[in-house]
Symmetry: C2
DNA sequence: TACAACATACCAACTAGTCGGTATGTTGTA
DNA sequence: TACAACATACCGACTAGTTGGTATGTTGTA
């Protein structure tokens, strides 16, 4: 889905190294504050390679968002929480999983898509669209489970799977911002606890609170 | 509170015009993508004036966060929703108010503090601290009402006013990111609806859903 | 031998920040 | 009350360095 735009072969090694460098550096410093030279240095590649693979810096930023979609979606697809038979259990286990992976340095668990969307939405359409696609696609994946849960257990008027999926992402993205302010993952764990409590009450399901 | 750091007189007119320009431009383009020249142009001021009032660009960014705290806190302090006698009604009316003011261009209702905190947390300690102070302070204000509501109506183990106040900000900040992706305020309205539903269930209060 | 995948050398534009200068207060004191 | 001494607010040309981007190689391999 996210790779549909990047028709070119993606053969080279330099390309991938540049995309990984972009994700690491942009999460730490933001997009504008990260220079092409810096990206090349971290990737161990020269400027010629950079502009061989990407038309300009914005194109790298957008391609990195697609790269982020690919790597993170495979992370979530292969995770254990998908094994649960019950859709609501699956969602709750997804929250557990997100809780677990929010450790270490702040820049290591925050979201490339959210960061670059926040910063670049006004200056680069390509980055904005690719970054939003990343978040919206992930929400849509969550929405499948949530729609099944709604069909099975019912939900108040107006509550849809997609709406809950997007809200989940919103709460997480916002918690990442707070985590950047505090310098640790505490706000993420807190937000997930509130999110879980909301869902449990919404579906009248008792569980650890 | 937020002005405690800025002991200097703040007399000049150029200073305020630069702070207003910073808030407008950074919300649209981000901090790094906004140049000093651009700020001066929008403020109708020269570079000499800029560096007379601010030691460097980062100092302007941090001062703008304080300025944002001042203007937004007076906006919320003077708003009607504070008139409610019941603390929970006050919080719910706060949500209504936030719902109302989320209109027009995305850059006009999103948060300077959240934007610059997200972007600058790794490159400027001064901006990070001032921006986080802005959000944390606002959360603390909310927490007062929420603590009163908890004292009055009770709440599950581990739910505190501050925790709910921070979670409220997280959901809003995250919704702003989604709004930037979609280009409209719909995600903000959605997030507020979920937030309201959560609070109503948490305090066993029926209300419009 | 043709072409993709890189490397090297370079540039024009822009960047934050400096510096000498002016105009308009304010304040202490004779 | 007059005037020297100083402070504040602001101007705009200048600079050293950085930026994204280009033009022109080289090299491995199909």
């Amino acid at each position: 889905m996210s790779t549909s735009r990047t028709i070119p072969a993606k053969t080279g090694n330099a390309r991938t190294k540049l995309l990984d460098a972009a994700i690491a550096l942009v999460r730490r410093q933001g997009f504008s504050a990260t220079s092409v030279d810096q990206l090349c240095q971290m990737a161990g590649v020269t400027k010629g390679a950079f502009f061989h693979h990407f038309a300009n810096k914005d194109a790298l930023g957008a391609a990195a968002a697609d790269h982020w979609t690919d790597t993170s979606s495979s992370l979530f697809m292969e995770a254990d929480y998908n094994r649960h038979a019950d859709p609501l259990d699956r969602y709750l286990a997804y929250l557990d999983f997100r809780d677990e992976i929010a450790t270490g340095e702040v820049a290591e668990f925050t979201c490339y898509a959210g960061t670059s969307l926040q910063e670049c939405y006004g200056s680069s359409d390509a980055i904005r669209d690719a970054a939003y696609q990343s978040i919206a696609g992930h929400s849509a994946r969550l929405a499948e489970d949530l729609d099944q849960a709604i069909a099975q257990y019912g939900a108040p008027e107006g509550v849809t799977g997609l709406s809950l999926g997007l809200y989940t992402q919103a709460a997480l993205q916002g918690a990442f911002i707070l985590a950047k302010g505090q310098g640790n993952a505490a706000p993420v764990h807190d937000a997930i606890a509130h999110l879980r409590r909301y869902i449990l009450m919404l579906f009248n399901r008792e569980g650890k609170i």
